[in-house]
Each structure stands twice: as C-alpha cells, then as structure tokens.
Subunit: 310 residues, 2 copies
C-alpha cells in the first residue's frame, strides 16, 4: 500500500516535485495543497497563478520553457487590449484566459475555489487531488523600502521582484479557514511534504491559514521540506534575495530554522551535505529538477528515504 | 452648416447606414443611438453585440464578410474552453474578448455603459458619438410556440431564429431611463433617422425606454425610417419571418404602420415604389447596401431628400 502523501507547494518549483510525486503515487494517495496568496484580480478575471501552474504541469499542457502558462499559447486578447490604450504587464495567454473566465464565472455563481479547481483539473485529466490552501481570498502584500506596500503580483511580475522587501503580510488570512477537503487530506496523511517553493512567499501563506499549523502538527508523521536553497542560492526566483532583505542567512539551514517545528525532516542538496541543520531527520541528494526524470527521481528518493525512517 | 442627425440602429443593417452617415457628416453632427436589448452575460462577460458591431464597423476593424466581429480574429479562448467540456455557441473572438473584458471591468468599477462605450470608441478612433439607448440593463425576451420564453441570444444565435415567435418583451425596460446624453442628442436633432434594422428586435427596445417616444415626438423635425423590408423580404435576418409570426404582412408598408406616429417620413426601395404607405413623406430609391459606396450613397440620398422637404 502506498503512503498517503500531502505536499504543500507554490508555483513552478513546487510543481516539479508535485509532478514527480504524481508520477509515482496513485491518485488517491496524493493531495497537492497550493498557495493562493498570489491570486489576484486582473481585468476582472480571478487569476490563480500557482493553482494554474500546478494544473498545467500535471495535465502536461504547461509551457516547459517557462514552467508556467500553456504551451503554444497566443496573446491575441492582450494585444487587442493595447488598442484601447492598455499596457498589460501580466502575461495572460488566450488559452489561459479560458481558465480564468470559467473560474471567475464559477466563483460569481457561488462555487468555492476548491470546487472549481477540482472541476478544472478533472476536465484536463488531472487525477491527483489539487486543493487551494483555503477558499477565502488571501492576498500576499509586500512592504518595500522604496515603493511602500505592493500587491504581490505588482512586486513580483510588474517590478520583477526588484524592490527591497521589508516585510510581508497575508491580507484576509485571519478570516480564512482550512477547508474540509484540506482537513481530511491532512488527517489521513502518512507523510507531509513541503515542496522546494519559496518559504516566505509560497509556503508561509499556507501556514498562516488559521488552524493549518495545528493540523500539520496534530499527528506524529514525517513532515519533510525539500530545500529551495542550494549552495546558498535560490534555484529560481527571489528566495535568496528575499532572505537577505528579511535578515536571514542565505543558506538551506536558515530555511530549516524558519520552518522550525513545522518540519521534522529536511532534504538538502549534496552540495549542502556539510550543513548542521538542527532537524531531527536530514538527508542529502541531488535535488535540482531540470528534467522530467529528475523530478521523478527526487520524488522517489524523498519518499524512499522517509519510508526508511517511519 | 450640416444638420444634426440622430440615427437609431441595431446591429449589422443599421451599422451600414451609420457608416454611410459617418462618412458624410462631421463628428459633431451625428449621434448613433444603439439597441442594447441584445446585450447579455456570457462566460461572465458583458457582451453588447449591437454596440460592438457599430464600433467595429465605424473603426474599420469589422469582419466585412460577417458584418460583425473583428477582421482576422482568432478563437483560441473559445477553443480552450472546449477542453473544459464547454460547447460555446456564441462566437467570441479573442480580440473581441478584450473589448468585453474591459467593458465588464469598467461596469464593475461603476462606470456607466455610456461612459465605457465612449471610451472604447474613442480609443479605436471612432469620432462620431455612439450611445447605448440606456445605461440600465434591458433584456429582449422572446416567447416562442415550442420552447417557451428564450433570452434573445438563445433565440437568435443558439437556435438561429428558427423557433416560432409568439411575442416579445423587454425585461427591465420599465426601470430604464433615457440618459442625459441621449436626451441632449435628441433635443438638438434636426433629423431623426431609424436605420434599416429589425423594427421589432432592434428598434422596439429603443422606443420602449420610458420617455424615448416623447423625446422623439417633442420637436417638429423629420423622423425618417429606412425600410428593412425590400420587395417583401428582409435584407438579412429574421425580420420577415418574424412579421408573419407576429401577424403582420411581410411588406414595407406594415413596417411603416408599425412605426406609426413615430415617423413622418419613410424610405423604401425602388421595388416598393408602388406601395401606398400612409406616411406624410415618402421616397424610393435603391436602399440595398452591399458595398461601401452603397452605404454612402444611401446616406447621402436620404439626407438630401430630407433637406428638400424641410
């Protein structure tokens, strides 16, 4: 019998591990819980970048060069907006817009984000369960030194994560709740994983949902993070830059410290084998996931290592 | 000095006359008041088919083969919807969707349909004033013999106007009001025209806006309709079929009777020269508008004829 695995993820980095896990675990044994702090309204559409990156990755539709969006997508809608004087700064492909339209309409019709996420994923043939961290709208807000507080996508995409970050907050999270679906997944989890996503931008919003931490810690199961920092550098994105700005050392160890009691296991890359991590269970192996087979072998190695100590 | 002209129109047929008028009248002398009874929500977008047909026609973006939509538009968004099990029955091109997104967002932000229509038209270089008949949502509802009451686009596009019509009503029109912009245009009009649009489906909703009829009749000016029926047939669309179903004769004369006191002038095609129309001023000339030059010459002939009797 396969273990019941729950994995917390953000976008591109987490999607790679989720893809590897989905390749080796049957649908009923894997639940992917996704950050929705990046979600925002754009041209009246509810855009959920991390949920869609996971869905497009697992369905095989993803643009493999970018790691997000749909392969071969066009941008006729955005180009036409320019005729009206708009200067679109967030890439929305035409095929991608179909996703946003259906989601926006379903939300307006009173469906939960969990329901519409399941519907969209199922329609695209994704059999493993993909769940938003909560059904309530949560907005990651980034306070910056020079430009004040910015909405996440303004910081991340419009300003290409260049502003220096002072602090982060998750607007609306106090009113958010763990969904019945997330609760059920965590309650039946044999293993809880945290993908190599940005701990502050992608994982922290999930952990900030009231009740989430308690649910993670409620059972004595392996709770293992895969480091997003390798040799002091972020594989992708602003993680390392952000760590400096928020006063952390740029090391995998600082990530482990940040997760604290949430994890009891930590996987680093072989280049970080020498670090003293202060986590109960640690392992090191190649965790860079460039190819499809990398993703599968990282997922396999993580699960095999965990099975050895449970 | 050019006359101040107001023209009431629906979609494709009316757009041809509006195009001709815009060609010969300076922007400040022409106001085009457009039916919005066809407007509807589709995939969460506010779609205004007649307003867009007018805008695309006047801006030159229009697909000239169809008479609606944007030339060279693609359908990546709708095709992608099929992946999710949708079966789109109303054609929304990708470039067209940009229009609907901006309009929907502006309406959600509290702009009036008049404001957003002006903004969109101006951005596309349309200098003549295009106004919705009202800012309130009005929905043409079609009661049919076999399928009960259908929303207009369900009747018109989904069922290709094949159901037999019993009656029409304009949902919401009681609560609609003439806008200050429409009022001002009518109050300064030297000539009021009714385009060769469907009298029951395109012009009746406009005339049903409370106060509209009174404004039209308030001044002793030429009020001239161009017949949509030529030799007992509709140039395009369901007008003739509908006339039979609603108990009218399929003639230009029945159109003139239907307009009644609203008009004091009526233009028919030369093939209908023999009809006894019961309207104070009548004229006949070629009114089929196949080519661009047809549109201009029909507009010119109508205005010249009117100028001869004022």
């Amino acid at each position: 019998m396969a273990l019941n695995v729950v994995v917390f993820v953000g976008g591109v980095g987490g999607a790679k591990l989720a893809y590897g896990l989905a390749h080796i675990l049957p649908p009923e044994n894997l639940t992917i819980i996704v950050n929705t702090g990046d979600d925002f309204w754009h041209y009246g559409l509810r855009v959920c970048p991390d949920l869609d990156t996971i869905m497009y990755t697992l369905s095989g539709l993803v643009n493999k060069t970018n790691g997000w969006g749909i392969d071969g997508d066009t941008r006729a809608v955005l180009d036409a907006m320019q005729r009206y004087g708009e200067a679109p700064w967030f890439q929305l492909g035409d095929q991608d817009i179909a996703t946003h339209l259906l989601r926006t309409q379903a939300l307006a019709d009173g469906e939960t984000l969990t329901q519409i996420t399941t519907k969209l994923n199922t329609a695209l043939g994704v059999q493993h369960r993909v769940l938003p961290m909560t059904d309530a709208p949560v907005a990651t807000m980034v306070d910056t030194v020079d430009q004040g507080e910015l909405a996440f996508q303004t910081y991340f995409v419009r300003h290409r994560w260049q502003p220096v970050v002072k602090s982060l907050r998750f607007e609306g999270v106090e009113a958010a709740a763990v969904t019945p679906e997330v609760r059920a997944a965590l309650q039946s989890a044999d293993v809880i994983l945290i993908g190599p996503s940005n701990p502050w931008l992608s994982i922290a919003p999930i952990l900030a949902v009231p009740g989430m931490r308690e649910l993670i810690l409620a059972y004595d199961v392996p709770r293992v993070a895969v480091s997003p920092i390798i040799g002091g550098k972020a594989v992708k994105g602003p993680a390392a830059k952000l760590m400096v700005e928020l006063g952390y050392e740029q090391t995998a160890q600082a990530v482990a410290d940040y997760y604290g009691e949430v994890i009891n296991g930590f996987v680093v890359d072989t280049v970080d084998a020498g670090l003293s991590l202060g986590v109960q269970h640690t392992a090191n192996f190649e965790i860079i996931m460039n190819s499809e087979s990398d993703r599968i072998s990282v997922a396999k190695n993580v699960l095999q290592w965990i099975q050895a100590w449970v």
